[in-house]
């Protein structure tokens, strides 16, 4: 049996104190190492909230998240930051590259935050850039790239610390069809080559169809958990 990477136990999120908005009801699931999964749902359904909770960017109002064996619910801000840096890579709809730094420096950033030596980091960053077809762009400023290139740099950065899990929130939301297809092809290749688990949030069912497992969120509840095209209705 594969190692459990994410253990989400009845996690819920409610925003507001006076007027309360429930973004996510008590959701439970597990993601195994090397899985390639997607979270699908309409806009405002709670899928991004779920991703932010798994990625320890946000804290659940209820429930418990165990990430790679570490109980993140009990962790403080510093420990959560360390867990994010060690185990999670993020790819967002907006690339969020740092305009003050070059392509190579952006890719190196998670490793530098971890405090690793440049002699270890630079070859790995160059390897990532080569994997994503970005050779020759190392010294360019992140702002001087096309939309597709920026998103590939963001993916290279997400892979920098060789995370066990990459969380991608609408990663192709700002890309054209050709670039979108290329990005998902890359995700799949990385998943197979490096054994990195992926959870991709999308509202596009055709994108979700390319993943091994589909978690469908509706009105903050997990309504379907489908593996290998076989739907498994919950409840």
């Amino acid at each position: 049996m594969a190692e459990v990477l994410v253990h989400a136990e009845e996690i819920g999120k409610t925003y507001g104190t006076v007027v309360k908005t429930v973004a996510l009801h008590e959701v439970s699931f597990e993601i195994e190492a090397g899985e390639f999964a997607s979270v699908i749902g309409q806009s405002g359904s709670g899928k991004s909230t779920l991703l932010n909770l798994i990625g320890l960017l946000d804290t659940p109002t209820t429930g418990r998240i165990v990430l790679n064996g570490h109980d993140a619910t009990a962790a403080n801000r510093k420990q959560r930051a360390a867990l994010r840096n060690d185990f999670v890579g993020f790819v967002f709809q907006f690339h969020y590259l740092l305009p003050e730094f070059s392509v190579l420096e952006n890719v190196l950033m998670p490793g530098r935050i971890a405090g690793e030596a440049p002699s270890v980091l630079v070859p790995r960053a160059e390897e990532n850039l080569a994997l994503l077809g970005l050779e020759g762009l190392e010294k360019k400023n992140a702002n001087d790239l096309s939309g597709g290139q920026k998103q590939r740099v963001a993916i290279a950065r997400a892979l920098m610390n060789r995370p066990a899990l990459v969380l991608a929130d609408e990663p192709t939301g700002n890309l054209d069809t050709g670039n979108s297809r290329a990005v998902y092809k890359l995700f799949r290749e990385i998943n197979e080559e490096l054994g990195t688990a992926f959870i991709v949030v999308t509202h596009d069912r055709s994108v979700a169809q390319q993943t091994d497992r589909i978690l469908e969120i509706s009105d903050g509840a997990l309504v379907q958990d489908v593996r290998n095209e076989y739907a498994m209705p919950r409840g």
Binding site: N52, D58, K78, A82, F90, F94, L98, E100, I113, G115
Partner: protein, 383 residues
């Protein structure tokens, strides 16, 4: 030092903003260095002009008109005070200059010229004639000489305290830079003064002294009063005689400190507000760095580093600008008698530099705190 690297990149990304903050610090510290040095030098100049060439401590007999015996014990007791730089026994009397129908009172100070020079610097301030106080010679002030047309070699007749006239030859003319001193002071031979006053060889009207630090005169006077060799003698010092000057100097210092304080407050507010704006501008970058695992303290240090870099560079430029202004002031006033030389104090300049850096770093505490508290989700959710 990732925080430092990021801080440098943030500063370089907005060069004009960085230059403006550093310029603000530079102006503040430049004003601080120039104004502080100006006031210190002005006060030193005022003190020097007022009491620099006059006795700062005077030992006299308790009763007016009685002589002081300048014994080796008295001399030793006074010279034993480490603050005292020179001890000069003098014989002083009043006389009246007569020129036709005109009368002018004069204060004659008698003593050895080389000794008198250690306080009054007569030789150094001579504008005509020669520095000589042989018997029968007198050195007079410039204003007095000009008023009565006395040139070196001229004979002048004075009425002595005894009422007898005495004719002396003007050997030189001095300029003390003060009309009052130049028109009412004269120097004569010490033995001649003894004859006029009817004093013995070791008897003087006063023993004058100067001290290294003029503001130590109070302590030195107190110490002298306890000396057995000064029994029956009174010690007066310049501060007790010049309370108005002291009060003016203190007021000047207070106003200078106030100006410097408010300049620094203005600089601090300027840096704080600009860094706060910078922190807001960089919210997205900080948020994404935190999402990648940057810890709160590490992110907070970015703005501390920025402030330190801006503070050090701004304060360095400010110190250079302040010293440049001082050099300009000194250059422009090199031929002017109304301007005084400004001497920058190394200690004060170093303190100003450190204060500049500390003000800058202190101003970064709010943006730094804000950055530390930033939650990455605020940026991620905001898009």
């Amino acid at each position: 030092m990732l925080s430092l690297r990021i801080a440098v990149r943030f500063l370089r990304k907005s060069p004009w903003q960085s230059i403006l903050i550093a310029a603000g610090i530079a102006v503040g510290i430049g004003v601080q260095v120039f104004l502080g040095s100006l006031i210190t030098s002005l006060q030193a100049s005022l003190v020097d002009q007022t009491i620099g060439n006059s006795p700062q401590l005077i030992v006299q007999a308790q009763q007016d008109g009685q002589p002081v015996s300048f014994t080796p014990q008295l001399e030793h007791a006074m010279k034993a005070q480490s603050e005292i730089t020179t001890v000069v026994p003098t014989r002083t009397y009043s006389g009246i200059f007569r020129s036709g129908a005109k009368n002018a009172p004069l204060q004659f100070t008698g003593g050895a010229l080389d000794k008198l020079d250690t306080i009054y610097d007569i030789s150094g301030r001579l504008v005509a004639g020669k520095a000589s106080l042989a018997a029968g010679e007198v050195i007079v002030g410039k204003d007095f000489a000009d008023t009565y047309g006395l040139k070196p070699g001229a004979a002048a007749t004075f009425v002595l305290p005894s009422g007898k006239p005495a004719t002396l030859t003007v050997s030189g003319v001095f300029d003390f830079g003060s009309a009052a001193a130049n028109s009412a002071t004269a120097f004569v031979n010490g033995d001649q003064a003894a004859t006029v006053l009817g004093l013995q060889g070791d008897q003087y009207t006063a023993v004058d002294a100067q001290v290294k630090d003029v503001f130590s005169s109070k302590q030195v006077a107190s110490a002298l009063r306890t000396e057995p060799a000064l029994n029956g003698l009174k010690v007066t010092e310049w501060q007790a005689q010049n309370s108005d000057l002291l009060s003016a100097l203190k007021s000047q210092s207070s106003s200078s400190y106030m100006i410097q304080f408010f300049v620094l407050v203005a600089v601090a507010l300027g840096i704080a507000s600009t860094l706060a704006i910078s922190a807001v501008q960089k919210t997205r970058q900080i948020g994404i760095l935190k999402a990648m695992g940057m810890k709160d303290r590490q992110s907070g240090r970015i703005f501390l580093w920025q402030a330190l870099i801006l503070g050090v560079s701004g304060a360095a430029v400010g110190v250079a600008a302040g010293l440049g202004l001082i050099a300009l002031f000194t250059f422009l006033g090199r031929n002017s008698t109304s301007l005084f030389p400004i001497t920058p104090q190394v200690g004060f300049v170093v303190i100003s530099f450190v204060v500049g850096v500390l003000v800058a770093v202190g101003s970064s505490l709010i943006p730094s705190r804000r950055t530390k508290k930033l939650d990455p989700i605020e940026v991620i959710q905001g898009g």
